[in-house]
C-alpha cells in the first residue's frame, strides 16, 4: 500500500490449537434470535451464517480478513466472520446486515445508502454498512480521516468510495439532528 493507513484486519477471535475440526453443537444468538447448529468446530462464522442459518447477506470475498465483505458485529464490535471460528463465539450476540436495520444507526445508514444511491454491484455493501455502523456507534461525527481508518478494511471493487463516505456523513448528520431534537424536548 502506498499510504500509511493500515488495513484493519484485527479480530479478537483467532484460531487456536483447541479446534479439532470435528463436529460439535453450538447455540448462537444472531439478530436477537437463538439458533442451534451442528458444525465442525473450526467452521468460520461466515459459513454458519450463510449455509446453516440461511442468512446470505454476509458475503464471502477473500477468506482471509482482507476485503471486509463478511463483516458482522460480535457484541457490537466489527469482526471479519470469514476468519472467526464458530467455537470462539460463545454466548456473544452476533449482528448481521439482516439485523443491523433494527438499530437506529443501522437504519439511518441503510436510508443514507439509498438516498445517496451508493450501490453498483452491491456485493461489498453489506460489509461496508456493518463497518460504518460500528464507526458511528463509537464516533457520532467522524472526520474524513476517521472514515478512512474505519473503512479501509472494506474493499469496494466497483469504487463507490465517494458515495460511501457521503452516506456515512449523511447518516452522522441525521444523528446530530435527532440528538439535538431530543435535547430540546
Amino acid at each position: 500500500m502506498p499510504d500509511d493507513i493500515p488495513i484493519p484486519t484485527d479480530t479478537p477471535y483467532r484460531w487456536g490449537e483447541w479446534q479439532t475440526g470435528s463436529i460439535m453443537q453450538y447455540k448462537l444468538h444472531v439478530n436477537g434470535r437463538d439458533h442451534t447448529v451442528d458444525v465442525d468446530d473450526d467452521t468460520p462464522l461466515l459459513w454458519v451464517l450463510r449455509d446453516e442459518i440461511e442468512l446470505k447477506g454476509t458475503k464471502f470475498g477473500c477468506g482471509a480478513g482482507l476485503c471486509g465483505a463478511c463483516t458482522v458485529h460480535i457484541d457490537g464490535a466489527p469482526v471479519r466472520s470469514c476468519t472467526t471460528p464458530i467455537s470462539n463465539i460463545g454466548s456473544a450476540a452476533v449482528t448481521t446486515i439482516e439485523g443491523i436495520g433494527d438499530t437506529p444507526i443501522g437504519a439511518r445508514l441503510q436510508k443514507a445508502w439509498l438516498d445517496v444511491d451508493v450501490v453498483q454491484c452491491g456485493y461489498c455493501q453489506g460489509g461496508q454498512i456493518m463497518s460504518a455502523a460500528a464507526l458511528l456507534t463509537r464516533n457520532h461525527a467522524p472526520s474524513d480521516d476517521d472514515i478512512d481508518s474505519a473503512m479501509n478494511g472494506n474493499i469496494c471493487r466497483c469504487g463507490t468510495y465517494a458515495r460511501i463516505r457521503q452516506a456515512i456523513k449523511q447518516a452522522a448528520r441525521t444523528d446530530l439532528g435527532s440528538a439535538a431534537t431530543k435535547k430540546r424536548t
Binding site: M1, P2, D3, I5, I7, G21, S22, I23, D40, D42, T43, P44, W47, D51, E52, E54, L55, K56, T58, K59, F60, G61, C62, G63, A64, L66, C67, A69, I97, E98, G101, Q110, L114, D117, V118, V119, Q120, C121, G122, Y123, C124, Q125, G126, I129, I147, D148, S149, M151, N152, N154, I155, C156, R157, C158, G159, T160, Y161, A162, I164, R165
Partner: protein, 752 residues
Amino acid sequence: MLRERQLSNSSNRSAKMQMLAASAPLRASRRNFLKAGVAAGGGLLLSCALPGLAKAAAMGPTEGTSAVLNAFVRIAPDNVVTIMAKNPEIGQGVKTMLPMLIAEELDVDWAQVRTEQALLNPTLYGRQHAGGSTSTPQNWDPLRRIGAAGRQMLVTAAARRWNVPESECETASGQVRHTPTGRTVSYGTLASDAATLPVPDLKKVRLKDPKDYKIIGHSIPGVDSSKVVRGEPLFGIDTVAPGMLYAVFQKCPVFGGKVVGANLDAIKSLPGVHHAFVVEGTTNLNGLMPGVAIVADSWWRADKARRRLDVKWDEGATGQQSSAGFERQAAELGAKAPAQVLRNDGDVAAALKSAAHMIEAAYSYPFIAHGALEPMNCTAKVQDGRAEIWAPTQNPEPGRALVAKTLGIDEKDIVVHMTRVGGGFGRRLANDYMVEAAWIAKVAGVPVKLVWNRADDIQHDIYRPGGWHFLKGGLDGNGRLVAWQQHFVSFSRNGKFAPSADLSADTFPAGRVANLSYGASLIPLGVPTGPLRAPGDNALAFVFQSFIDEMAHEAGKDPLQFQIDLLGRDEMLPGKGAGFNTARARGVLEKVREVSGWGQRKLPSRTGQGVAVYYSHLGYFAEIVEAAVAENGAVKINQVWAVGDIGSQIINPTAAVNMTQGAILDGFAEALHQQITIENGRVVQANFDTFPLLRMSQAAPIEVHFLKTDNSPTGLGEPPLPAAIPALCNAIFAATGKRIRTLPIDTAVLKA
C-alpha cells in the same frame, strides 16, 4: 421469483414446481413464435438490432392476473407494470436503465414499475449479455420502440372501448385520457384488451421528443438497492437449489495441466464428503479444464477436504513459462525488426533520421487479474438430460452453448437463470465456472453449488495480457509530430494474437502522423487471456497517451494543446464503431481544460497535473489528474476532472456519475498496484494482500461532466477507464520529471 426460489426449502415438490415455473416462459415463446407472423412486417427493420424483437412485441395475452403486453411488459389490474430486464446486472445498472427506456415510451410513472430479471431466451430478447459497454447502444432504439408499441396498443384498446378516434386520446402516468371529454382509463383496465391486438409496425411507432422525457435523463436509484442494503439474497453465490451439495474444484496450478492421479479414497473418507472424482476435462482454456472435484455437505468441509488432496499432475509445456522468461524474450524480440507489419505510412526511418528531435522509449505492463469481489461460482442441477443453471455470468448464451456441447445436452433443455453478479469487469464473459458446476452436478447426480475460493479466482483467471512497446518518435523544427515507430511485443495463441492482446492498425495517432509504422512480434502463451474492462485500451491508452505526452514535453508545448493540435481538423478517422471522431475528442479536451482550470493555478512543489484523452467502446473521455508525490515516492491523487461524451442523452445520471468514478478508480488501481506474475507456468499471487484493490483512503475526489452531443447514446462501463492511467502517469511526470514507462508504478524510482 428469484428470491422465492432461493429461499424455498428443500422439498421435491417445490423443486418440481421450480422447474415448471422456469420453463413456462419458454413455452410461451414457442407459442409466440407462431403468433409473430402478425408483427413480422414491423420487426424486419429492427431485426439486425434486436433479432427477437418482433416475437418479443407479440407475446400475450395473459400470465396469472396480469395481461402480457409483450415479452417485456406485463400489466396487472392494479396498474402495476412489470418490465423485464433482459441483460445481466453486474453493477453497471442495466436492470434499472433498460426498463427505463421501455417505461418512458410506454408512458408510465416509474413508481408503477417493477423490474424483473429475464431468463436467458435470445429468441425473445435478442442478445443478452453484459460486455463491451453495448447494452445502451444495442438497446436504446429497440427498447424505446417496444415501449411505444405497447403504448399504441393501449391507446387503440381505449379508443375502441369508448368508440372514439385514437387521435383524440393521449397518455400520461399509465392512463389513457380522452381529451374532448376528459374521461380516463388506467392501463391496468385496458391491458387484457390491448394484449389481444395486433402489434403495431415497430419502425413506425411514434417516439417521444426528448424534451418530454420524464424518466430518461432523470436519476433513478438502482432497483435492487433496497435489497442490497438489507442483505437479502440476490447474487449467484446466494442461490439455494433444493437438495444441493457444495463443490470445490481443484485445477492444475499450471494452466492446461492434466490429472495423472489423486488420493480420492482418502478424500472420500473425510467428514461430510459425498463425492470426490477426477474431471478429465478438455483443452479449452475458457472451458472445462482438468481437475479434481470434491462434493460435500458444506462448502467449508469441501474446501477443508481439499487441503488433504494430493494430486499428481502432468503439467505440460506451460510449466516452462514465466514472467521473467517473457521479459527476456520481449527484450530480444524488441531489439529486432517486428515479425509482422500492422501499418506502414510514409517513410518512418527517413523521417526519424531527419527529425529535429527524436525520443526512444520502451513501455511495458503486466498481466492482471479481474478480482471481482464475488468469487466465481455457479449452481447447477442436471437430471434426465435436462439442466437448470443459476449463473452469475455476463455472457449466458455462450455459457449455455458451452454446457450443451461439453455435457452433450440440447441447448433447448437448459434453463439459465441470470442472477445478480458481484462484479464482472470482463471476467464473467467466460463461463468456465458454469460448465464446471454443470459437469460436477451431472457426475455427482445431485444439484451442486460450486464456489471458488479467492486463490482459485486469482490463480485461474482469464488475464489481461502483459505487453511491451518499443517506440521512437520524431518532431520537426516546429515541434510537430512527424514520425512514430512502434514495435509491439505481445502474445499469441494458436499462431494469432492471444485474446485481448492485439493492436488495431487504426489506433490513434494513426492517420495523423505522416510517417508511422506499427509492427508486432508474438510470444506463444499457455496462460489464458481475455477481456478486462476496456480490453486492449486499458493497456494501450497508457502507452499511446504517455508517449504523446513525452513528445509534447520534448516539443516544449502545453501537453493539452499538443493533443488538440495532433487531433487536427474535425473528421471521422477509421476506428471502432462508426470511427474515431476527432471533433468529439477535441470537445472533451476543451471542456476538461475549462472545468479543471488547467494551467491556471500555481501548484506546490512535487505536485503536477497530467492530461489524457481516449476513445474507447464508442465513448470519448478526457481526464486531468492532479497528483502529489511525497519525498518517499508515495503518490497521492488530489483531484480528478473527467469529461465524457457518450452522446445526446445521459439516461440515468446518478448511475452515470457513479460508473465513471468507479471506472477511473479502477484505472488507478491497475496503475498503482496490480500485477500478476507467472512462475513455472503458475500464478504467484493468491489473495488481496499480494493483488491489492483500491481502498477508501486511496479514493481521490473525481469531478464528472458530460458533454451532450448530437450522437446516439452509448454505454459507460468502459469508456472512462483508459485515460485515467496515462493522465495519472503524466501528472507524476509533471510533478517529478520522472517518466513512468512500466506498470504498476514503482514508487521507489519517484523518491526525491
